[in-house]
Symmetry: C2
Subunit: 369 residues, 2 copies
């Protein structure tokens, strides 16, 4: 393999694939980035056997085609450190590889690229299309409530469901539900898949929130494929049936408030200052027609906040884990939100004043004494 | 104690003193910030028994004087989180303290301020004066080579020596010496002190590098006092005799190069890429009249860089620990530096092309084979 290319373009490719390279594994070849030079250019690939990412062809001056794997960390650092924007890379029959740029030269050992596991072949049957920025946004604003660990394996992933040209993204950890929906391309097939959190986290990191680039998403029973102009990501899916979240959202509320998102968030953050040492300290809401009073009371001290709200329905006292509230409110982009309650044993739902493009449901804590 | 003041001014004071508050100690009162309200305003103080810092009086509307201590972390977080810029604080006879701002109110327990250890009383005998920005600069650019741990206790501090209206700051860890000098106020007393690294690190963090504020430094046998418009810091000194660094710098060089600082640093960083896993991998210099060749050779790979230099004297092969070189070069503000060598067993000295306002001396590694 022998080629010349731009350091910047090669580094862009490395930044796309390198984050999924596992740090330690029983298969050392997986700690590599696969570099393939063919007549279309250079492609980079990483594969942790759950998720694989391949870049589109990077423009290069190919003198000799080939496929070699290089230890990801050292390869990335070498390319990043090169002094000039022109890079030349050349491997010999013993996998010894010279990387040159300006007056610098590195020698490292590569590995046989044919030992590297290829991306799984996926039938491109079911498909939807969406703007990159929209998908990035919807993932970022829901993924935080995927369960880190759970006896219910489906909760360690996020549901992506297509129905009537709408995408619903749903993450549930047993204490809360984060739900968002948006329109997708009209010729989308109805379908659903539970995608591992790691794949969506990596995808949302890579996707750009600028411009109007589109992403095509294909899925089969076992895999999902994300395809943009610059990359293909393939992830295994989580098998099983997702929770029936629709009926949990269907209950009638008896109390509803409209509140300034930023002020609400700040007041909860103040009330949770004493909770850091002891994660379970609840924040209490006392909702009256005039105002919302937020209090906390711990061994370390007490806090009290009063907020103006637009109130409808009954008065109510209810308590929450402040972290669940603050994470949901940070995911809200609106200046004002609506919060609906039913009783102090039932979840609250944070949603837009108008419409239902997001819903954050949070279970309350039981008030003692 | 009862007062009203600006949240921003109180927070500035907290930011000055809170960093030296120890996280865990056998004397819980030391985990507090002392707040004293008297007819001049509010003063904040922290004291870890080695270093103490007190702010100058912060403007406040004092209704009742007093002195109380508050657990540093929670007090800082409360003040930081308050919703309005007007803060009122009130303590009762049982040390229960109310902090109010806007529609928020916190209650925390304070401690009796008279239990807090006062700053040591230091005679203001020996003195020098210098611009804050100059002292900050000189500390930042030498402190990294203080020994983190050493059987020679004097090496865990930095020498500040006043002689003929010049300040010399010297840090030595047994493998290298970082030396800087600058002018101080003309009426300065000749003297020297070994100041613990922690005190100088904290001081350089707090000092501003903008403006022309001046700092007065006083020292006695056991203490040093730094006094600016906004604070007083007192630190214990390290007892003992500092190393005789002057004679180490006195040797004649046989090889000297002039080199672009940035290019030199980048080339050493490239050569040290393979060293991260194995800290002891040396980088080798091959100095000839035409150029400097920098190489490294480890199990992970090899690197080679060629740099143009202005060369005087003998050719030389010599090896170094790359971290010592990169830390010194990052502390240099000049575009070009001079590097002097004597033999491959003697230290090199990095210094300005003209003058001697800094000198970084680094011991070489023995070249094997």
């Amino acid at each position: 393999m022998k080629f010349k290319c731009s350091r910047e373009k090669l580094l862009n490719g490395i930044n796309i694939v390198s984050k999924i390279v596992p740090a330690r594994t029983t298969m050392p070849i997986l700690e590599c980035i696969l570099v393939t030079a063919d007549d279309t250019g250079i492609k980079l690939m990483a594969n942790d056997t759950e998720i694989g990412i391949e870049t589109s062809a990077i423009e290069a001056d190919i003198e000799e085609t080939g496929t070699f794997a290089f230890e990801s960390k050292i390869f990335s650092e070498i390319i990043r450190s090169l002094p000039s924007n022109e890079v030349s890379l050349e491997t010999d029959e013993k996998f010894l590889t010279k990387i040159k740029s300006g007056n610098s030269e590195f020698k490292i050992m590569g590995f046989n690229g044919t030992d590297f596991p290829p991306l799984p072949t996926v039938e491109k049957e079911n498909k939807f299309e969406i703007e990159e920025s929209k998908l990035k946004n919807i993932i970022k604003r829901t993924i935080f409530s995927v369960a880190a660990e759970s006896s219910k394996i489906v909760l360690t992933g996020e549901l992506l469901k297509i129905k009537n040209s709408s995408l619903e993204a749903v993450a549930i950890d047993g204490y809360r539900i984060s739900y968002r929906t948006c329109k997708v391309g009209e010729n989308s097939n109805d379908n659903e898949a539970i995608v591992p959190a790691k794949a969506l986290n990596e995808l949302s990191r890579i996707l750009t929130d600028k411009g109007d680039g589109r992403i095509s998403v294909y899925y089969t029973k076992n895999h999902i494929v994300f395809e943009t102009e610059s990359l293909i990501m393939v992830s295994r899916l989580i098998e099983g049936e997702f929770l029936k979240y629709e009926q949990i959202f269907a209950n009638e509320n008896t109390t509803s408030i409209e509140i300034n998102t930023e002020e609400f968030l700040s007041a909860i953050e103040r009330a949770s200052l004493f909770s850091k040492e002891n994660k379970k300290s609840p924040v209490k809401f006392n909702i009256t027609p005039e105002r919302l009073i937020i209090t906390s009371n711990t061994e370390l001290g007490e806090s009290y906040d009063e907020l103006d709200v637009v109130h409808e329905g009954e008065s109510l006292e209810i308590a929450f884990n402040p972290r669940y509230l603050t994470e949901a409110l940070k995911a809200v982009e609106d200046d004002k939100v609506q919060v609906q309650f039913m009783s102090n044993l039932s979840p609250c739902i944070i949603k837009p004043i108008k419409g239902e493009n997001y819903k954050y449901l949070i279970l309350p804590l039981r008030i003692k004494g």
